[in-house]
Every structure is written in C-alpha cells, then in structure tokens.
Symmetry: C2
Subunit: 310 residues, 2 copies
C-alpha cells in the first residue's frame, strides 16, 4: 500500500453558479480557499454535493483549470472523475493527473443496472491503463443510495489486489456502518472515509482516514476539531455536536439546503442557485432551515456549538 495523500475532513465542495446558470469559477476558488483555511484536509471537488454530474466533462475540466490558476494547491484536490462513459472517465482522470491532483474520486459507471463486478472491474482497469501514470491515486466512490451501482466488498478487494499502488482508498456513502467496518477490517492501510461525519469517531477508532462529507461545506471547524481530538476526553461530546448539525441539515434536501446556508451566512443570495434537476429551497423551507440552525447555535465559520463541547 502506498503513502496516503489525504486524511482528515475532506469537503465535496459546492459548485456556485452564475445568474445565467454557468459554473462560477471566481466564487468557487474563493470558497475552496475558505475551506482550506478552515482546516479542510482536502477538497473532493466534483462530488455528488458539487452537482458534478449536472456539469459536462468540459465544464468540470475548465473549473479545475481555473482553481489551479487561482493558486489552490493541486495536491489538496481529489476531483470526482466518474462518468457513465469510459472515454469521459478516462479523459477526466488524465486531466486530473496532468494537474498533479492528489487523487481522484471514482464513481462506478452508473447507467446500467444491474451491472456485474467484472464489468466495473473492466471499466476501472481501462481508465487506469489509459492514464498510464504511476502518480494516479484512485479513491473509489461508493454511494449506492444515489448511483445505485456500487463497489461490492469483493470487487474492492479485487481492485486493491490488482492495483495496490493506484486504488488506495474509498469514500463510503452507503450509510451502512457494517460495510464501512468490513472495509476497515479487511484492508488495513487502505484509506476509508465514511461519507458522513456521523460515523467519524467510530471510523477513526477502527483506523479510518477521516471523512468526506457534504456538511463539511458548512462545518469544517467542528468536524476537524473532532478529527484532531478523537482520542481525547471530549471526543464523544465533539461527535455529538457535529452529529447535531448533520441531522439538522438532513431534514432538508441536502445540496439546496447547504447552498442556502452558504448564501445566508455569506449574505450572497446568488450562492443558492442549483442546476436542474435539483431545485432550490422555497422561501418557507429556507426560513425554517435558518431557524433550525439558529436553535442549535450554528453559524458558518464560527460554529458556536463547539464552545459548548469545549
């Protein structure tokens, strides 16, 4: 197993859109810098939370170009490079490798259902062969509640065995702790990131690498504090605090709700825009969400619930 380039709190960064519906590279770079300054261990740009699959491969590559031009360190970036077409996935992976990204997050091809482990293995092999780079680090992106197609435990084992220097980790957004625990037990040294901070403390106690979580967009400080203090006396209280924020958000459609929170706390209404098929929160939902966050004492960048846990 290779050295691991990522650990801690990784954020699948929200993608801001202009009033005309185009990806907004300026706002995006500024937000990436803000998240790194808050202590994010890496930026999993172009994930589900990023509406990556609502952008063309070309739009994603231009955004990555602009981020690197803006000075965001490529080594901190783990762009999502999954696609239904192996040609698109291979192109996105080559582009990320050319930029020196620390790694890539790979959805399995998600159109056909059911699809065999052999077929997914062939797809990933094809992408790796096509990239032809010893620098490539792939993190498998397992999110069956959305992609439906996922990486079975057997398939993960096959991929690690075939590509030990390349297939180095996995984001587990199954929401199924027993799957995360099985991965941690079977593959020591393989970087397993639960897809929610709700499982962070439990994962760290079994050797997890951190988490890659949507709510990292609004709560890096709280989650990073748990990551840094997981062996300390306050660990359970810190876990409870971040879980409270997560559960509050989970009562709303996650991506539009996160964008609404960012728009509110940055006083920048344009941040709330989503691309179809997602729809923004309506006025009543927005007011209820902000009120709910107020009740738990949350503020973006200054999560006051941390004080309570200290």
């Amino acid at each position: 197993m290779t050295a691991q380039p990522f650990h801690g709190v990784l954020v699948p960064v929200l993608t801001p859109f202009t009033a005309g519906g185009e990806p907004d590279a300026g706002r995006f770079a500024a937000y990436c810098r803000f998240l790194l300054n808050q202590g994010a261990g890496g930026l999993a740009i172009f994930g589900t939370t990023s509406e990556a699959n609502s952008m063309s491969p070309g739009e994603r590559m231009v955004l990555l170009d602009r981020l690197v031009e803006a000075g965001i360190p490529a080594g901190k970036l783990m762009p999502g490079t999954g696609a239904c077409a192996v040609t698109d996935a291979a192109m996105l992976v080559r582009h990320a490798v050319e930029h020196g990204c620390g790694g890539v997050l790979m959805l399995p091809p998600f159109y056909y259902k059911p699809v065999s482990d052999d077929g997914i293995f062939a797809f990933i092999s094809n992408v790796i062969d096509n990239a032809g780079s010893a620098a490539l680090r792939i993190y498998l992106y397992h999110i069956p509640p959305v992609a439906v197609v996922g990486y079975s435990l057997d398939l993960v084992g096959r991929l690690i065995t075939a590509y030990p220097q390349t297939v180095v980790g996995l984001k587990d957004s199954s929401g199924d702790w027993s799957n995360t625990a099985a991965l941690l037990e079977r593959h020591p040294g393989f970087a397993v990131f639960p897809g929610s901070e709700v499982f962070l403390l439990e994962a760290l106690r079994k050797g997890g690498a951190g988490c890659i979580t949507a709510t990292g967009n609004i709560n890096v400080p709280g989650i990073a504090k748990l990551y840094q203090n997981w062996q300390g006396p306050q660990a359970d209280a810190l876990q409870e605090a971040v879980t409270t924020v997560r559960k509050t958000m989970q009562a709303y459609p996650m991506v539009p709700a996160l964008k609404r929170v960012v728009a509110h706390f940055r006083d920048d209404p344009g941040w709330a825009a989503v691309r179809p098929p997602l729809v923004p929160l309506d006025r009543a939902q927005s007011a209820a969400l902000i009120a709910d966050l107020g009740r738990i004492g949350f503020a973006l960048g200054e999560p006051r619930q941390r004080a309570a846990a200290e």
Copy 2:
C-alpha cells in the same frame, strides 16, 4: 398535437465497436441501412440498447454526423439525447435538430435520486428553450428499471400541456402495462411506444403508435408484420411469434446477447464487442443462446417463425 413523424417498429440500434473499442461508424451505417431495408419505421439510435451512455457526447455526435454523411435519412432518426448534465443534453439536442432528425428520445437526468417532477420539468424546459427550434420533436424516454428516475403520469401531462408542439410522444420501457394503458387513455394523439413488442398488439388496440424495442435489432420483419396486420385474423398468432423471440432473448443479458446474435448471423465476430461496464456473453452462454434460437426456428433477416404464423 402535431403530426407524428414516427410509427411502426423503431429500433434502438446496437452500436458496433472496433477491436480497439472505438465506435465503428462503417459497420453502424451499414446496419442502420439493413434495418431500414427490413422495414424499420425509424431508428432510435443512442438508446440503452445502443450503449449510448457508454459513449461520450462527442462520440455520439460524430457517429450521427457519419450516419447522415453515409446517406441514412435524418428524418428516420430519433437519437437519444439524454444526459445527466443539462448542458450535455442541450448540446446533443441542438446537434440533432441541426441535422434535421425526425425527433429525439430524452432520458430524464438520471444521477440524482430522488428527484422532483419540478426538477425534471425544469431540465426539459431548459433543453427546449436552449434549442429554440419549432422543428424539435421530443419523445420522452421512460425506463425506470435502468434509469431509476422516470417520468410520472402527472409530469408527462404537465410537459404535454406546456409544450404541445414539442413533447409529442413517449417510449414506455417501464414494463408496466398499466402505465402504458394510462398514457394511451389520457393523451389521444400523443405517440406512445411500448419498449417491448410483447405489448405491441395490446398497445395498437388502444391507439399506440408502434413500439421501440431492443429485439427490433434482430426481428424487424416479424414485428413489422404484426404491426401491419394487427387488425387481421392472424394478429394473435403474429404476436405470439414475436413474443417467443423476445422471451428467448430475455433469458440472457439483452445487449451482449443481441450483439452475439448479430455476430453469429453476419459471421462477423467483431460485432459481439461491448464497452464496459457491459461484458460479452461467454462461450457457453453464446452457444446456449444460438441453440435456443435454433429451437424456435429463428434466423436473422429471415425469421422462419413468420412462416408458421402465416
């Protein structure tokens, strides 16, 4: 409701690949011509059976260019233009309209689940507005067993009401006859195509426009004969004959099995190639499939079971 450019047996044409895994425009054009000569009412290129989502948008557009250059009439083409990204879908639709295609077959955006009817409506609206063409004819592609996301009956009604000259039909691959029947009852004049010839006779009796079916790739003559004679005394026997072919194929993974049949009857082994994540039939499956077809007296281009029904 506008005049309907398509009826009869529409084929979601298989996409041949070269030994190197590239779309094979030459084999593709030749096969499209063969299907039209056999009596196909239209070619729904770039559907699920075509492995369209295993190709990049650019690869699909080049294939369409090559087909038209090869003399396949654009008016007979109904390319699949669905994509997860509204920018990709809009680009594919504009390209099809520029070529004068008879229509386009639109998957809903299929990454996010669940997604609201409002979100899908906004996506389709965005594509229509972007195309800005009175010539655009959209056929909705409802295939929840694969795409998971689908078009609800309510959403279909909303789209027809909003775009009566543009949203003119639907392919129903739900496999749920009650859904097809409800569409036929609610929207006279709207072109409803079941996604399987198993439902063809029943659909025609309720005003259906024909069918768009994977097995059209190997059985246009049999299905076209049923379409032409659905009010005749042999209709039930003709239905039974095509259903027998369909059920035989359904015992195998459909796309690799269809390609194996084409490879066998054209004596062209290269036709069997699929792109990952699909995998070709293995030797034993291939032999069993050809034996099964032999038992029902099937031969590509000369479906002998027709004789029995005559």
